[in-house]
């Protein structure tokens, strides 16, 4: 077991790679009631084409299958794992993102028992035709719920507009039609390919004894046998650098317009520190341009073009990266134009050192705040680890960001070819 100490943050992290390849991290948090654990596979909605374990040819699977699998893993021959967790006083959950599927529990008692349940249920799939059919009704309602949600529609609308081929443009849950094609055999195939321990990471954070917990995990894993680890071969989509369509308008039964401007990064660093630098530089740049203390925010707010729903965000995983800027607005076209203008007229030479320092200070404070949250620590640590970086490098990378690194992003991304706009507007009354 390896120990890493982060002195300024007053945190200690323990790490060990299990014999079967599973990466395990433990972060003891004294004073907290809750222990939070995530068991995550490096497998998400974008992994829709790959060579299944033991096969030689690429296979395309139905959209939404990673998310479907996440739902179904909770069901076992003798009942529902949610039930078992709640009997043990824990609350369990799971989520699927573009690139990850995470299973988690939090509990303030019976931590060892709950951890055992987490490891065992994720590592013992049980899919049957009957339960697969039943799930289609439930997920169908989940999809409908999102269909009626204008915030979700506009968010996914921008991504759809930005990408030409990459499956990041496909809704994580799939569609009612695509999930209809899912069968138990397909689920097993995806499971066996992506749920090998060597493709997974376990993170435990809370008031725990790291020695005891690590020993428990070793013992648990030693009891199970897995085929030899094999590198997963994923299909590499060729994605042109420019956006697919410049503008998309979705009429819905809403009262307020919603407008997002998407900025597509033409390329992103594949992994490691370089990737972390890229992501944080993009975030700092957005904060500089659109934060509440920026002149642009003040102006747009005064003009009534934005309100408290205004947000900006940058997402970077594996081989894709995109930013979003927008929210509810009184005039969707005007807001799109204003945001584009801000981006296109930006020049790194006008950025003052003290302004940049202030944004960095803000980011460092926000990072400290997020360390109050066990959920944040486990989920973000896992995300950075899958991208070949470390959560605990955030502060030092922020401190060492240069104006050149930030200027480079603006140069690559702030041009017409990288911008897509999506608007949700009220449906015309007939």
């Amino acid at each position: 077991m390896k120990k890493m100490v982060y002195e300024q943050l007053q945190e200690q992290l323990f790490y060990e790679k299990m014999e079967n390849g599973l990466d395990v991290y433990i972060l003891p948090k004294k004073g907290f009631n809750k222990t939070y654990a995530t068991f995550t596979t490096n497998y998400g909605s974008v992994d829709n084409q790959f060579v299944p374990l033991g096969k030689t040819e690429m296979k395309r699977v139905p959209d939404g299958i990673a998310h479907f699998l996440e739902h179904k893993l909770f069901e076992k021959e003798d009942g529902d794992v949610f039930q078992q967790f709640s009997k043990q006083g824990a609350s369990a959950n799971a989520f699927t993102s573009f690139t990850r599927t995470a299973y988690l529990f939090s509990s303030t008692a019976n931590v060892e028992k709950n951890l055992e349940t987490l490891l065992d249920f994720v590592q013992s799939p049980y899919f049957s035709d009957k339960t697969v059919e039943k799930e289609k009704g439930i997920i169908g309602q989940e999809i409908r719920m999102y269909d009626d949600n204008p915030d979700w529609r506009v968010y996914f609308g921008v991504i759809e507009s930005m990408y030409q081929n990459h499956p990041v443009k496909i809704d994580i849950a799939g569609t009612v039609e695509s999930i209809a094609q899912i069968t138990k055999d397909l689920l097993y195939e995806c499971y066996e390919t992506f749920y090998h321990p060597s493709n997974m990471l376990l993170f435990v954070v809370g008031p725990v004894d790291e020695q005891k917990i690590m020993q428990q995990i070793r013992d648990n894993q030693a009891k199970k046998s897995f085929p030899k680890a094999q590198k997963v071969e994923r299909f590499i989509y060729k994605e042109p650098s420019e956006v697919a369509e410049k503008k998309k308008v979705i009429p819905m039964h809403v009262q307020t317009n919603k407008c997002f401007v998407g900025i597509k990064a033409p390329s992103v660093p594949p992994a490691g520190k370089e990737k972390l630098v890229h992501e944080l530089a993009f975030n700092v740049l957005l904060d500089y341009l659109f934060g509440k203390s920026s002149p642009h925010y003040e102006r747009l707010y005064r003009l009534g073009l934005i309100d408290e729903t205004f947000m900006y965000d940058y997402t970077e995983e594996r081989e894709f990266g995109f930013a979003m800027v927008g929210g509810d607005t009184s005039d969707a076209d005007r807001l799109s134009e204003e945001v584009k203008q801000i981006l296109f007229s930006f020049s790194i030479d006008t950025v003052k050192g003290e302004e940049l320092e202030r944004v960095k200070k803000k980011k460092i404070g926000a990072f400290l705040r997020s360390l109050n949250s066990p959920e944040y620590i486990a989920n973000q640590f896992t995300r950075y680890a899958f991208n070949g970086g470390s959560l605990f490098d955030v502060v030092s990378v922020l401190q060492s960001l240069t104006t050149e690194q930030i200027g480079e992003i603006a140069k690559q991304c702030f041009c017409e070819s990288q911008i897509a706009v999506c608007q949700v507007v009220p449906k015309e009354k007939k």
Partner: protein, 426 residues
């Protein structure tokens, strides 16, 4: 378990919770007044105007620049209803400099800023700045209208409006749209002075702090005007047993129907039966092992979500679910059947044990976050019934099957609200 010290200075109840769990320190300012038609919109506007500028930092940009300099201290405000009370909350969260290379005393600065925000706002001509008020009126209208576009929230709001018609609780915490335009900077400023004088005020300070230092800082920064506090004297329950179930169907262009059902529990935070009510809700619909989730979602496959929640100070129980419009009757029958089962004591000892464990866990997890901790502690202020954290745990543990059935017997169906699609329309 939670070391809360309460001392009143300058007629502010200062609650200090020293802990070194967090990397930040948290300030939460709460002002409480009765919910009423006359003041609901003024009150909904006020904190947003206050957070837009102080005498020292008279614009959003200047104020936010200062917050950024304090290592990205966060400032946010919101409004809530607790029973028939309308509560303004202002929160500031600031990094603890122990974890930084910098040694500025950030908490002291944050407290000073909070005092500036509530006591020394940006002003012109003896009232709030016209431009700020105009901007925030516009933002308030957008905030009120936004509910309409979020069908889950919209359905919950409509259920309350229908169910509590004529009671203050029917008012929305964000105010009423038609009142907004008429508000003037002067009128709002007068209302502001009245709240400072009459509201019950509680300040929570959570983090790496000592009570005496906090009290000293509060004394030096918060020079309150002379106060004439109107105590609301605990939760008022407008208890109305419905004679006939109120059924409301509303049609909109939606794909998923929202079935929301409201009950009167006739039990509130003040009552001895409160823990039994929590247990009742836990078995019925509060969790993923509850009857609603199991029967509506897992067994009948009708919904992605099907759950219930309590309004503790008003005595309401609300069921919510998202279903295919054509499944209305089916879903409603299943929900009603689960309620019947609760009233008949048709639940196992295992469900009781399981629910106790989950409620205990939920409470302990909630108080792991500064925000959650304040919300739990503030129940004691709203209700005038002090329930220490230990009592929450032991009180829940002591609940028996008989207690739950007795509480179930008090629960009365009031209103069924269904938001559904326009069949054949388009």
């Amino acid at each position: 378990m939670v070391n809360e010290k309460i001392t009143t200075v300058q007629q502010i109840n200062v609650h200090t919770v020293p802990t070194n769990k967090y990397k930040t320190n948290t300030l939460v300012w709460k002002m409480k007044a009765p919910l009423s038609r006359e003041t609901v919109t003024l009150r909904a506007l006020l904190p947003y105007v206050l957070q837009s500028g102080t005498a020292k930092y008279p614009s959003v940009k200047q104020l936010r620049t200062y917050l950024d300099e304090l290592y990205g201290a966060t400032l946010n405000v919101d409004l809530a209803k607790k029973g028939e009370n309308h509560i303004i909350t202002i929160r500031i969260d600031v990094a603890n400099e122990v974890f930084l290379q910098e040694k500025t005393p950030l908490l002291e600065k944050a407290l000073q800023l909070l005092a500036d925000i509530v006591l020394r706002p940006a002003m012109e001509n003896g009232r709030f700045v016209e431009e700020i008020v105009a901007q925030e009126k516009r933002a308030l209208k957008q905030r009120i209208q936004a509910v309409y576009d979020d069908k889950m929230r919209y359905a919950s709001l409509r259920l309350i409006q229908e169910m509590c018609k004529g009671e203050p609780y029917a008012l929305h915490a964000n105010g009423e749209l038609e009142d907004v335009d008429g508000i003037t900077a002067e009128q709002l400023f007068q209302y502001y002075q009245k709240t400072l004088s009459e509201d019950e005020i509680d300040l929570y300070v959570i983090g790496d702090v000592q009570e005496d230092a906090v009290l000293q800082a509060v004394t030096s920064h918060f020079s309150m005007p002379s106060r004439n506090v109107r105590s609301s004297g605990g939760t008022q329950v407008a208890h109305k047993a419905p004679e006939k179930v109120n059924e409301v169907v509303e049609k909109q262009d939606v794909k998923q129907g929202k079935l929301n059902i409201g009950y009167r529990t006739n039990v509130t935070y003040n009552d001895d039966d409160y823990y039994a009510l929590q247990m009742f809700n836990g078995i019925f619909g509060g969790f993923s092992h509850s009857k609603l989730f199991i029967n509506v979602r897992e067994k009948a496959s009708l919904a992605y979500y099907a759950a219930s929640r309590l309004e503790s100070h008003k005595g309401l129980l609300m069921v919510m679910s998202g279903i295919e419009p054509s499944n209305y009757e089916k879903a409603r029958q299943i929900i009603e059947k689960q309620m019947e089962a609760m009233k008949n004591g048709d639940f196992t000892d295992e469900e009781i044990t399981q629910t106790k464990a989950v409620i205990r866990n939920q409470l302990l997890e909630t108080i792991d976050t500064p925000r959650g901790l304040v919300e739990v502690l503030y129940h004691n202020v709203v209700s005038k019934r002090k329930r220490p954290m230990e009592e929450w745990l032991s009180g829940t543990d002591r609940v028996t099957r008989e207690d739950i059935v007795r509480v179930a017997g008090k629960v009365e169906l009031d209103t069924i609200y269904f938001l559904t699609g326009m069949e054949g329309a388009e």
